[in-house]
């Protein structure tokens, strides 16, 4: 499903050069739930961004869903992100000026989906994270756990093949964190969604199929 060959990412500024990823080789199969751990600054987010086509690797080859996505132009990249990928972030990234349902339907807005269908799909996605009754609330009226569940609904509303989650439970207490984790596991098991999740929490990592450890940009386990 996801294949990285000798992928490196170097950030160059005027004064320093940071190797965020150092020759990563990685294969993730369809339906796998992989967690990534490692100390702060070791390159976990960078790895996720590279897989998610939000950032380009300096070197190496990436294949996602059998397509060598690196050669895509910007339009094709956007379209690929829109149709194949779902993102979940530590800080939720909900748009404060949009209601819950309007936040959830965002990915569909960049596809040609009718307003009616958008509404139906978004309501269904919200139902699956248990927030259907909060549709017309605004993000500021929700708890952290609820916000992250909205973000998950947004990530899955377009039915993506791959979910990329960067510390989805990082801002949540353990109770809410477990709730979110339950939803992700259910998605993985019931929809066969491939999930790559960065976490700092060993207990969360233990519940996934495979654990990947990064250290200073290199894969150590």
């Amino acid at each position: 499903m996801i294949q990285l060959e000798n992928v490196s990412k170097v950030y160059r500024t005027k004064t320093i050069e940071t190797t965020a990823l150092n020759e990563i080789n990685l294969t993730i199969s369809e339906g796998e739930f992989v967690s990534i751990m490692g100390p702060s600054g070791c390159g976990k987010s960078t790895l996720l961004n590279v897989i998610g086509l939000l950032d380009e690797p300096t070197e190496g080859k990436i294949t996602v869903a059998g397509e060598s996505v690196q050669n895509y132009n910007s339009k094709a990249t956007s379209k690929f992100r829109n149709q194949k990928l779902g993102f979940i972030f530590q800080s939720f990234h909900l748009i404060p000026d949009l209601s819950v349902i309007d936040n959830v339907e965002l990915p569909l807005l960049y596809r040609n989906v009718s307003a009616k269908e958008r509404k139906e799909l978004s309501a269904a996605a919200l139902e699956s994270v248990g927030l259907k009754n909060r549709m017309d609330h605004f993000p500021s009226q929700l708890s952290g756990g609820q916000k992250q569940r909205v973000a998950i609904a947004r990530a899955i509303v377009g039915n993506p093949a791959i979910l990329l989650a960067d510390e989805p439970t990082g801002n949540l207490d353990s109770h809410m964190g477990n709730e979110v984790m339950d939803i992700l596991l259910k998605l993985n098991q019931e929809q066969n969604t491939t999930i790559v999740m960065v976490t700092h929490d060993e207990n969360m990592a233990k519940r996934t199929n495979r654990l990947l450890r990064l250290y200073d940009g290199s894969q150590v386990a």
Binding site: G52, L54, D55, S91, D97, L98, L106
Partner: protein, 388 residues
Amino acid sequence: MIKHIFKLIWNKRRSNALILIEIFLAFLVLFAVLSYVIYNMRMLSAPLGFETKDKWMVYLDDLSSKDSLEVLEMKNTLHRELLNLDNIESVSYTENINPYSGNQSRTGGDAMGFNISSLLAFVDSDFANALDMNVVQGRWFQEEDLNSTYPSIILNQAFIDEYFGGKNMIDSMLLFRGEHKVIGVVDAFRYLGEFSENQPHAFYQVPRHSKEANNLVLGMAPNTPAAYEEKVNNLISDITKSSSFIIKNIDQMKKSDSRDTWIPLIALLSICGFLCINVALGLFGVLWYNINKRRGEIGLRRAVGAHSSDISKQFIFEILILTFIAVFLGIFFAIQVPLLKIGPLEPINMYYAIAISTGIILTLVTLCALHPSWQASKLHPATALHED
């Protein structure tokens, strides 16, 4: 997508209201100033009805206390001798014509059965020729007209349009300060200023030798130097045995008269210019601030599949929709002025002002929105998402 943008605008109605009010007020100020400017520009570009270049005026001393025969003699000599000068092409005697002096002679009457109010001029048969006026119907006075049964009258087009619906009045009798026969129509005679309205005007004929006709209009050869005035001055002073007459260049009188209108006009336009710059800077700042505040949103939208062009489009649409609402409100209020016929200006000026204000505001906003929106679209998604 448009519906989505409307939702965004509505949900942010508090902060958007400020932008809306700013654009709305800027529109109204522009509308007011432009109405005034357009009115004046339209006056400025309308035909004056006569030439001012190489036209001189001579104001002779008061002749009323002098002996009639002497005056006749003197005026005939003056007429002849002036025409003999190389650079003088035409000479006309008039009564009270004072171009650009602010003085005007006006009268009203209802002998025709309705009220007529008109500017008046008492001039001789050479007047139209001396000032290169445009006779559009009939003809100008001739010396023989002084002997005809009914005295002649010449009107301007505005007179005919205002009181006779533009119909052909040649050879008709007009009861206005006595019974007169209309013999000609001139296109205009706006001698009150370049910015003056084209008002009804009537010309009555006076004999050249009349004591009251103590002003002269001189049609000079093209590009007669100012120094030539001395020659004219000497001649007049020899013949009239006086030195208290005045010679003036009509073109210069026109220019100094127009200055009184140009100065407030330019001042207003400058204020308007500053207003536009201010609004532009304000908008630019607000847009810049908003877009920076929304970096996370931009990153998120890119992550869920928005192309960079979707981002710039969104921001431009947001501000343009807001602008359309503000301008729409502005037009709604502005258009009441001509519709309800408030104020002194003709409606056409205000319709032009509305169109131009709309154009200026839309251009201004688009220009202000382009750069920040482009900047927003160039934001790297990973960086934008990273920051929150």
